[in-house]
Symmetry: C2
Subunit: 300 residues, 2 copies
């Protein structure tokens, strides 16, 4: 297992973490410059943050600064209430793949969606099995395209508390079952041990509770472990979405899980992803990034 205590070369910042500085939206260009000036070598930006500045601008900036993208957030949201909605999701996901390619991201992260309309508080139906089947079909179709442009897709199982409105893939086991069906893992045929075309993003916040976590990380193996996200689970958790804690402030044994992931050969970034309406988003982004660096050294 790598020693993180000496430097922060394997720290990546998911740019949602500093989406706001003192409660005010912070442009992605400023986020990137603040990361680069601290020797942070990788980021994972959100599509809306890229779009607000412009894909070309961001693409040039990250190349100029030599930043890597540990992932691109995000594709997914496959389920829809009608054929038109399904088509719109398909088209939007192809654009997400194209953007990820332009930004040379390590993978496109998929938050797969839940019951159509539920995120807006108006679920179209209660059939989670149907949503799951639309997710599987949506990933299958997107995978054909992503494979053709060599952009790995990382299914991110979300915590079961998001099953209704954000993602109906809720365990690593469930995500890997889809990988098995859509992208049977045959490295010997593909002649390499690089990233699989379809794999998973392991976010400790979403999976720490899972009694089968260690076994499923081992099942995933190096080629399907495309991303590793960190933050912490607070007790109490005051909000279902915007109360993700800073590493070390909660109860997740992050080094234990990182050890399992690295035990499979994963050697990528630890990506910090914090949504925190009342806490970190109210602070100055420089302070937040400095804290991420410090906690990456001693709590990841």
């Amino acid at each position: 297992m790598r020693d993180f205590s000496l430097d922060h070369r394997w720290l990546s910042i998911n740019t949602a973490t500093v989406r706001k500085s003192r409660g005010v939206d912070l442009p992605l260009t400023e986020i990137i410059e603040a990361c680069a000036s601290r020797g942070i070598r990788a980021i994972s930006p959100w599509r809306d943050q890229v779009a607000a500045v412009g894909l070309d601008t961001i693409s040039k900036l990250v190349r100029t600064l030599g930043l890597e993208l540990s992932g691109y957030c995000r594709g997914g949201m496959f389920p829809a209430a009608d054929a038109q909605g399904l088509r719109m999701a398909r088209d939007d996901n192809r654009r997400a793949v194209d953007e990820a390619c332009e930004l040379q991201a390590a993978c496109l992260v998929l938050v797969v969606g839940g019951l159509p309309g539920a995120l807006a508080g108006k679920p179209a139906h209660k059939d989670i099995a149907l949503a799951r089947s639309q997710v599987r079909d949506g990933i299958a179709e997107l995978l054909d395209y992503a494979r053709s442009v060599r952009m790995p897709l990382a299914i991110e199982p979300l915590h079961p508390m998001y099953a209704a409105d954000r993602a109906c893939i809720n365990t690593l086991e469930q995500a890997l079952d889809i990988c098995d069906v859509l992208d049977p893992d045959r490295p010997e045929r593909e002649g390499h041990d690089g990233p699989a075309a379809l794999g998973v993003a392991v976010d400790v916040y979403h999976v720490w509770w899972d009694p089968k976590l260690k076994a499923q990380i081992e099942r995933a193996g190096k080629r399907r472990l495309l991303a590793f996200h960190v933050c912490d689970w607070l007790t109490p958790t005051r909000d279902l979405l915007n109360d993700r804690g800073m590493m070390g402030d909660g109860i997740i044994d992050i080094p234990l899980i990182r050890g399992w992931v690295e035990g499979q050969g994963f050697a990528g970034y630890s990506e910090v992803e914090i949504f925190s309406t009342d806490n970190w988003w109210q602070r100055n982004h420089g302070e937040v990034l400095d804290t991420c660096i410090e906690r990456h050294r001693r709590a990841v």
Copy 2:
């Protein structure tokens, strides 16, 4: 599958549902009388509500009124930070079994506990594997006693969002793995098909999201399906604990899950358990009970 549309003979009220009337604590005696006066045949009371009035009083009252107990809430909270804490949990759980016997409850429901201290916001450690091992040992010890007095124990897997502070058993599969170890199911040896000594309480709120739910309900089978709890998952859910919805107000396909449970031969009560600080607890308890009856007929 039983037809619930004609009457509410299979409705049970978990008394937390009307713990407050218009925001004020309601004594269990009044709850019981309000249930009985509406032809509700079963309840599931909480220990603190019983203690506030007195076990003898409640015991006599339910016998006089001919009420059944679909369960008794609750034993569990096994993990502790030291030997004294473990002993206290053991002793308290034996008392819970005794009370359940006195009240002739169908089972004692176990909310098994999480990281010691986490519920008070001061977790003693981050080792969920240790907590899980203490849970297994605690259930094993309690089971010896419960078996001797013929009180079935129902492990209630809680939603993964409660893994840190309330229950580190979070899926039906995990609960049934414990049943397999501690109480191998051998009806032919025991010579009956009545309730197992150790089984599960299936609460739709906690398990609806689980992609393996149907398979695990089938695995449980009739003897281990000791209780069936209903409410609904709201979108959005505004609070991790106190925003359980009334059946029909959320996105859980309750009849689908009830069909799976009854498909195994379960013929017990559907127990309504709602915690709702801002909504149902602010209303008059009579209105809440009337709504439970109406929703039991058309949404369960």
